[in-house]
Amino acid sequence: MAGSRMKLELSRVIQGRVRLGVLKGLGRTGQHSLEVPGCLLYTPFGTVPHLTQDTLHTLSKLPRVSQVTLSNIAEHQEVLEEFKDGFRKFAGLHDTVLYCSLHDPAAPCPTGYTTNKTVSVWGSGGRIELTVAKFMALQKSVQPDWYQSMADGETWQSNTSRKRVRKSVDRTLAHLDECLLAHQNSKELEGVEVFGVVEGGDILEERIRSARETAKRPVDGFCLDGLQTGSMDQALRIQLTSAVTKELPEDKPRLLQGVGRPDEVLDCVEAGVDLFESFFPFQVTERGCALSFSFDISPDPERAGSTPPTVLELNEEDTAGDMQQNGDLNLNDQTQMTCFEINLKDKRYQDDFRPLVDGCGCYCCRNHQRAYVHHLLVTNELLAGVLLMIHNTAHYHGFFVALREALANDKLDLLKRRVLRGEQTERKE
């Protein structure tokens, strides 16, 4: 877009697909950057769930980009219009880049409400139907630094017909053209970046068509939609993602929506994805679990304890036990535990005086023990969500730091083995 400053500088491209670099020139004054492969901060309504700014800022090295969602914001349009200074200021945020997505990746989005001219978002007050005009009016009141254009992503159910998939690609392109037109005519949105949305369900040709057509438009980057966890198996996701990224220009970032599991993230990075949303640690928190998977690939074992983000000694015994409750089998149910976490509600933690993860430098692990978090969970205390969210956020973003380090040092395979170790242990059992 004219006046936009977002710029992707790739320092390495491995096997023509895996990309390491920095997304520069973010924010109104262009002073912010985000390393890729990277992750946005998940803040559906300007707040990391459960966390006040004080508790959030006990964490260092957080991404400078916060993701807010129209599904949470839309019902407050009138308030924002009266406020006039945009959502960032409204939410009391100061120094963060604001990315506005359409849906909340952690919230259900019922199907059957999409028309040729509208898509629907679901907030606390129910469904809100958006036309492009309303969508753009909302963007003007939110004043993000960057937003995804309106899209029909209703293809994720496995029985979606070819015809419906084609329609979703066509509609999404039409919405994009309309958004771009309105965008170019809007003084308020000058300098704001737009990501086009690639649809196409599980049909390869439609994916490619959507990617090619979207890439022809003056967009600053791409959202890959309809590939979220639960919509298809990982092999198909990787096949489609690889095919799509091959069609997209090298110099623009690709954000994959709705995928957050560490194993899936690693595969998708290999398929050419740059950016992810961090709703996964929130889901883990909501089921009373703590991320515990290992991503420490440093050769020096002593480093694990001294550097906060590169955590942990995975307790083999723990992992083995947790596996029995693992929910990998049911792809559609995202409330199920994965093998990357431990369930703090489990009775075995009631007198476990270790931190959630040994060597983790987060506020929770520096100050509290598993037994305490277990107690907070069984007594339904609000602090459980706070402490778990702190740890899970720290752990997850630490994983992305480790991922970039691994790419920089040609150690992606080692990292993959380390991350997947828990899963492999399980399969053997």
């Binding site: 559906p44 309504f45 300007g46 707040t47 990391v48 769930p49 459960h50 966390l51 006040t52 700014q53 004080d54 508790t55 006990t58 949470n72 019902e75 407050h76 009138e78 308030v79 009266e82 406020f83 409204f90 939410a91 009391g92 907030g123 606390s124 007050g125 009631q350 007198d351 005086f353 506020y363 100050n367 509290h368 023990q369 037994a371 305490y372 277990h374 107690h375 907070l376 069984v378 007594t379 205390e381 609000l382 602090l383 969500g385 706070v386 402490l387």
Partner: protein
Amino acid sequence: MAATVECGSDSNAAVNNMSLKKALKAASPLTLRIVAECPVTKARACDLMLPHCTVSTPVFMPVGTQGTLKGITVDQLEGLGCQICLGNTYHLGMRPGSDLIERANGLHGFMNWKRNLLTDSGGFQMVSLVELSEVTEEGVKFKSPYDGKEILLSPEKSISIQNSLGSDIMMQLDDVVSSTVTGPRVEEAMHRSIRWLDRCIAANKNPDKQNLFAIIQGGLNADLRKACLDEMTKRDVPGFAIGGLSGGEEKDDFWRMVTLSTDHLPREKPRYLMGVGYAVDLVVCVALGCDMFDCVFPTRTARFGSALVPWGSLQVKHKQYAKDFQPIDPDCQCPTCKRHSRAYLHALFKSDTAAMHHITIHNIAYQLNLMRSVRQSIVEGRFPEFIRTFMKRMFPSRDQYPSWAVDALASINITLE
């Protein structure tokens, strides 16, 4: 745990504890230094030196029932200047259990709180929460709501649990009767509370580290209160609580019992008025000579979106604040008011528990700031003016002042114009 229970029920051990206590009297883990006394009212400002830090009184103590303060981290609580907070013996004794907490280095270790803790005896919760409770001379008998097992909370057991929790201030087990009950049961409860105080004193394993407070009972009967005061003040306990009030009695009775109690409590020991936390009650009862207060109200009400302000309260969830871009209280310096508007909090309440945390922080800040201002005014000798200004701000007009507060203040020479 087993060992402590034995200790409490074994009379030889109890006697040994008594003599031990006498020997260690000089090393009592509490010192009260009176910094200033109001020349007009009975108010005083003190430094209460406790094992974990010095507490500036008058003080409001937030309640962290289950070893946590409603979504607030201990660092946040410390950041607000809180020097002492409460834990509930009944809840913690049930879950996670006192032996587990003892293994975690007491409640301080378990919740990682570096400052002072006060624990109640568990008796009040028992009587108010558990339906099947029966009070005998032995103690309070009840069925566990978790496994249905019959449990006896005796004075010895209560102290043994509180010893495991390691609180800086422990409360005696008292025989709690609703403040609206009258007749012989009140007298029985008063006398029993005195006997239980002696058993609690004898059962305290850690008199050098943990302070045991007596609780003045006697219902709303002045003679019984006086009798209880006379008896209990003969005991060498580090502090006194005024109990059996704030349970739905008439405010006219309430303040008369408070002022009667402070009239007879020793000047050199702290006075804790249990269960009081509304701003007006706090200010009036400081004037009547109380030093310490606790109440779940500020944190409980926060979760329903009610923010405490100098002019009463503000219901953040009400529609009128949807487009109100001011902070909750423009004069408040708390982290919530410095960053967020009423409108944002109003909207956030629809989607995230963090909204509750924001109000909880503000409400604790409000209570602690109120007590700091009270103390400051006592130190500077202008507490009477403080009261007048406070009342003017809190109520839109003179005729809305609650009559009990007017009467209570008049009794200590404060006339409100």
